[in-house]
């Protein structure tokens, strides 16, 4: 027998292994080496969280109790996946284009970004998932018990409740550590998915190993097993068509509506084509998982003593045969099934709770709404962590309340029927444009209540949450309201009874509600985008005019996506508009993109509400309404095409205009440049000439002679420096500079620059904040040139920062194959109108006396960075003046030379 302590040790080692796999996968994904992480195989394996401990242990129990009926649980998903292009493809497509974060978000987004629907779906999912999570805790605890007692008959673990508590706490910790590292659900949890894929392999291998052992080790091969099946009651079990159809339907619904399935299938999906692979590979996986269920059940029934729990045959059979190691493997398989389900379910549910409950509450409670800057990101991450812990706590409470007695399969089915209530609203939303928010809310609420009353509450047993009297005679003695015989529907199996009434009433309320109400404009547009997901790209229909300041939007986005993500997003959008820097024009198209990007983090409803606070006339323009009114498909398609064409024309025109402007500018610039140089040269020459003439006066007192000679000396140096700068700039601009590429530590370079710049306005106290450990990044570049850029930025800050207590923060880090160094001071920054000018030659913003340079510093910096294959840009929205220097980690110097 396996000692209990070793079992615990094995579990811990296994969890550590999962942790490691997740960690490595996450790291690789961060570095952009996610290649195999995005393979269709990993995707398919991750779908296997459908097979929880219920499937692993419970299917055998199910077969032992009800014969082949357990197959329906595999049949439903198989049908859905084989017919993937009907439903799944559309779901995934919409999931990507609308950046859907959860099933609640999908429903909310479809029905006009309604948060009410998000809340209803969240509640349904949390309530339905609670028994399911309890079930996993129960199965892990039971299987511990099997080993603890050492004999197959007794399950008495000395302290079962404590074991379950430990398991719940451990799972919460693992989930928090790996599920809430990223905020944006669309960023995907590579680590978690990889760990789940590994668990999928473990559980399949474990179940196959036990099956092979049972068929060829315990029984005498297939023929013997077949004979035993004939002899056992399983062979005679009657096939009830109603139950078969009902169960297949419910499990088919579950695979798309279970929050955890939606998470792996839609949210974590990185490529629509993976569905094509999964459509055959996942049914194959299910088939392999079910291959040995009946043999194990039959052999268990005949070999093990009467009264042994069939839910644990997978464990007890090897144990009874003295196969400790095999039992251990089976245990790990069950453990894998339970943990993977709990982890993903908790992540999915926590995302819903934070996006649909916490974020809207926060938004309405705060005085300034989204406009007041703040760390929304931290709040949401924290709320997700707390939600995960709370969800597992709920599961544990359910487990304690229900006493862990009910058969595994029964609990699983209750949850299935619960989430199936989302199906009408989902299918209606995807295929019926007439479906409305009110209809969906009515349907969901009705289905949910009927399910609670007819299935969920009775599941605690007579005398549990519903009194025996209510169960037997109905509330207040009204017979037709009896939970398990609604409207006098006697004699139906309780499960089928609940499935029938909940789904029928749900669908009725949904359809009726939709028919009598009218959708709002936003609903109509979302409906159009969902129903016609394949026909056209969901365009920017939501926002009429910009009106929003790009800088305000950036500040808000930074609070949600994190500074780096937000800046990168804004930069890309600006680039797409043909603008440099970080502030794109706030076109309706851009605002729409931003909203969808934010949706990926906080859900559609919250994102919409937040953006609405900035974009004026957040509602819908007359154009949009017209677009909706002329819903004729052809017109729409035609106009979409036209739109695309006119957009393209506009882009080309803009590019041409810009090229033309540039050419004109060049000639003007040349004249202006000469005139500027003449000015810059004449100024010091004037002083030199005037003072040298004055010095000729023999009557001039000595001390004045000395002073004026000093002026001449200083002005000559100024002249020389100007000429040096000009020559330097010309060499840099022609890319003829000879680079002296060396390997160095970025930290040393920054220190050198800070030291060299310290003689700029040395009389002023100036604080520099650095994260020194983070600066130890190797760089391969022309270090002298890079230091020149740094010196320039630091001494500019020292010169121009107008804060009372000037401070400069230097931030260095590596992102992918780029090194980024930010210089942010706490002054009043650079006015927006000047931000575009500062990198131009002689673009000095203040008076010469203070600056003491010719205004070529930043122009030289820009050219140096271009020579080094990097960039320097002004970073708006950081409070003070902020500059970002970015250079390649590995030199791709002179990349622009060919251009």
């Amino acid at each position: 027998m396996v000692p209990f302590n070793i079992l615990v040790a094995v579990c811990l080692v296994y969890v550590c292994l999962l942790f490691l796999v997740a960690f490595v996968a996450e790291r690789r994904a961060e570095r952009g080496k996610a290649g195999f992480l995005r393979s269709p195989l990993v995707y398919t394996l991750s779908l296997s969280i459908y097979c929880t401990a219920w499937t692993f242990y419970g299917a055998v129990g199910y077969a032992a109790r009800s014969g082949l009926e357990f197959l329906t649980i595999y049949l439903g998903p198989t049908l859905v996946l084989v017919g993937w292009w009907l439903l799944l493809r559309k779901l995934v497509r919409i999931g990507q284009s609308q950046r859907v974060t959860s099933i609640a978000d999908l429903i909310s987004s479809r029905y006009g970004k309604s948060n009410l629907l998000g809340v209803i779906v969240t509640v349904i999912c949390v309530v339905a998932a609670t028994p399911y999570i309890a079930l996993q805790l129960q199965s892990v605890t039971l299987s511990f018990g099997v080993f603890a007692s050492g004999t197959p008959e007794g399950w008495a673990l000395p302290n079962q409740s404590a074991t379950a508590l430990w398991v719940a706490a451990g799972l919460a910790l693992f989930t928090i550590l790996f599920g809430t590292r990223n905020l944006d659900a669309n960023e995907r949890h590579h680590g978690v998915v990889m760990a789940i894929a590994l668990e999928a392999v473990v559980k399949l291998v474990a179940l196959l190993a036990v099956g092979i052992f049972v068929v060829w080790g315990v029984a005498g091969g297939w023929t013997d097993v077949a004979a035993r099946i004939d002899a056992s009651p399983i062979g005679d079990w009657p096939l009830v068509p109603g139950r078969w159809i009902g169960l297949t339907l419910v499990s088919a619904a579950a695979i798309v509506t279970l929050p955890r399935m939606f998470q792996v299938m839609v949210v974590e999906n990185s490529d629509e084509r993976h569905l094509a692979t999964a459509s055959w590979a996942f049914p194959l996986y299910l088939m392999l998982m079910s291959l040995f269920v009946v043999p194990i059940a039959v052999v268990g029934l005949s070999v093990l003593p009467e009264g042994a729990n069939p839910d644990l045959f997978v464990l007890t059979l090897p144990l009874a045969e003295g196969q400790g190691k095999l039992a251990m493997l089976a245990f790990l398989g069950g453990f894998s099934s339970a943990t993977s389900m709990v982890i993903v379910a908790a992540i999915a549910l926590a995302t819903m709770v934070s996006n649909h409950v916490v974020a809207p509450l926060w938004l309405s409670l705060r005085a300034g709404g989204a406009k007041a800057p703040g760390d929304v990101r931290g709040l949401i991450l924290m709320s997700r962590r707390v939600s995960i812990a709370a969800i597992l706590a709920l599961g544990y409470i359910y487990y304690s309340l229900s006493g862990g007695s009910a058969a595994l399969a029964a609990i699983g089915l209750i949850a299935f029927v619960g989430v199936a209530q989302i199906l009408p609203a989902m299918l209606g939303g995807l295929f019926w444009r007439g479906a409305t928010r009110i209809g969906a809310a009515l349907g969901l609420a009705t289905g949910f209540l009927v399910w609670l009353y007819t299935l969920y509450l009775p599941s605690f047993g007579a005398g549990g949450l519903l009194s025996t009297a209510i169960l037997a005679e109905g509330p207040w003695g009204i017979g037709w309201l009896r939970p398990q015989a609604l409207f006098g529907a006697y004699g139906l199996d309780p499960l089928m009874h609940a499935v029938f009434w909940s789904l029928a009433l749900n669908t009725f309320a949904f359809v009726a509600g939709s028919l009598v109400t009218f959708p709002s404009p936003v609903e109509r547009m979302q409906g159009l985008a969902f129903v016609n997901a394949f026909d056209h790209d969901p365009g920017a229909h939501g926002w009429s005019r910009g009106g929003a300041e790009a800088e305000d939007l950036l500040t808000m986005a930074q609070g949600i996506l994190g500074a780096e993500e937000a800046q990168e997003f804004f930069r890309t959008c600006a680039e797409a508009q043909g603008k440099a820097g970080f502030l794109p024009d706030t076109t309706p198209d851009f605002i729409d993109r931003l909203e969808r990007r934010l949706s990926g983090a906080v859900g559609a409803a919250t994102a919409h509400a937040m953006v609405a606070q900035f974009a004026e006339g957040a509602a819908v323009s007359a154009q949009d309404l017209l677009a909706v009114a002329s819903e004729a498909q052809q017109i729409l398609e035609y106009s979409t095409q036209l739109e695309a064409k006119s957009e393209e024309l506009e882009r080309t025109a803009r590019q041409l205009r810009e090229a033309n402007d540039k050419l004109k500018d060049l000639s003007v610039q040349k004249d202006a440049f000469l005139s500027q140089i003449s000015h810059e040269l004449r100024t010091p020459m004037t002083s030199i000439r005037a003072f040298s003439e004055i010095l000729k006066d023999p009557e001039l007192p000595d001390e004045m002679q000395k002073q004026y000679a000093g002026v001449i000396h200083d002005e000559t140096i100024r002249l020389t420096r100007l000429l040096d700068d000009l020559l330097d700039l010309s060499v840099l601009e022609n890319r003829k500079v000879k680079l002296d590429v060396k390997v160095a530590n970025l930290h040393d370079l920054i220190s050198k620059a800070v030291r060299s710049a310290s003689n700029t306005r040395p009389e002023r106290s100036f604080v520099i904040h650095r994260d020194q450990p983070a600066e130890h990044i190797p760089v391969i570049t022309d270090t002298d040139r890079l230091v020149q850029v740094f010196i320039n930025l630091v001494s500019n800050a020292r010169k121009y920062c107008d804060a009372e207590r000037p401070e400069l923060t230097i931030n260095a880090r590596r992102r992918g194959n780029r090194i980024i160094v930010d210089f942010i001071d706490n002054g009043s920054g650079i006015p927006k109108a000047s931000q575009r000018l500062i990198f131009e030659k002689f673009a000095r913003l203040t008076d010469t006396a203070r600056a003491g340079g010719a205004g070529l510093g930043l122009a030289i910096c820009r050219e140096i960075m271009a020579n080094l294959g990097g960039t320097i840009a002004y970073l708006p929205g950081q409070g003070g003046a902020a500059f970002r220097v970015s250079l390649p980690a590995k030199p791709e110097i002179r990349a622009q030379e060919a251009a």
């Binding site: 005139s675 003449s678 000015h679 004449r682 100024t683 020459m685 004037t686 002083s687 030199i688 000439r689 005037a690 003072f691 003439e693 004055i694 000729k696 023999p698 002026v711 200083d714 002005e715 203040t846 008076d847 010469t848 006396a849």
Partner: protein, 162 residues
């Protein structure tokens, strides 16, 4: 040649050059020193010039010539300085921080009290179109940098009426 002798020779040459300059090259300054200083005593000039060294040089030259000199170092507040100092002549740089010389000239000419004030525009941009633009804007005289010391003094005297 021994070093002492070389130094002696150098001193002689230097004196020669200085005397020549005093007699011919800078004759007007010489005249001013001898007799005309009094005539310009108390003439007021205001310099609007952002380069401190240039302002200092002009201030030295004019003070030596007997002017009373005030200066202002930027475009902003220039009008206020003019109204405060009530100069007889204004020396105006064109490229100034805050407001340009053109803007200041425009304001001056629009103000009836100041429209007649003689203004010498001093510019580091000496091309023909710069000169034309300054005259157009209302400059009385235009002088490019670098200037000849004696010329700027003589011009200002002339502008101040005498």
């Amino acid at each position: 040649m021994r070093p002492e002798r070389r130094l002696q020779r150098f001193a002689m040459m230097r004196d020669l050059v200085l005397t020549a300059a005093g007699n011919f090259g800078d004759s007007r300054i010489g005249m001013a020193r001898r007799g005309e200083v009094r005539r310009h005593m108390g003439r007021r000039v205001l310099l609007i010039e952002d380069e401190p060294h240039i302002a200092e040089a002009i201030r030295f030259l004019l003070a030596r010539d007997g002017w009373s000199v005030a200066s202002h170092g930027e475009g902003t507040g220039a009008m206020e300085a003019i109204r405060r100092e009530t100069p007889d002549v204004l020396v105006l740089d064109m490229i100034l921080p805050g407001r340009s010389g053109y803007e200041i000239l425009g304001d001056l000419r629009a103000d009836p009290a100041l429209a007649g004030l003689p203004v010498l525009v001093l510019s580091a941009r000496g091309q023909a179109e710069d000169r034309a633009a300054a005259t157009e804007a209302g400059a009385s005289r235009f002088m490019a940098k670098p200037f000849v010391n004696s010329e700027i003094v003589a011009t200002l005297r002339q502008m101040a009426g005498g």
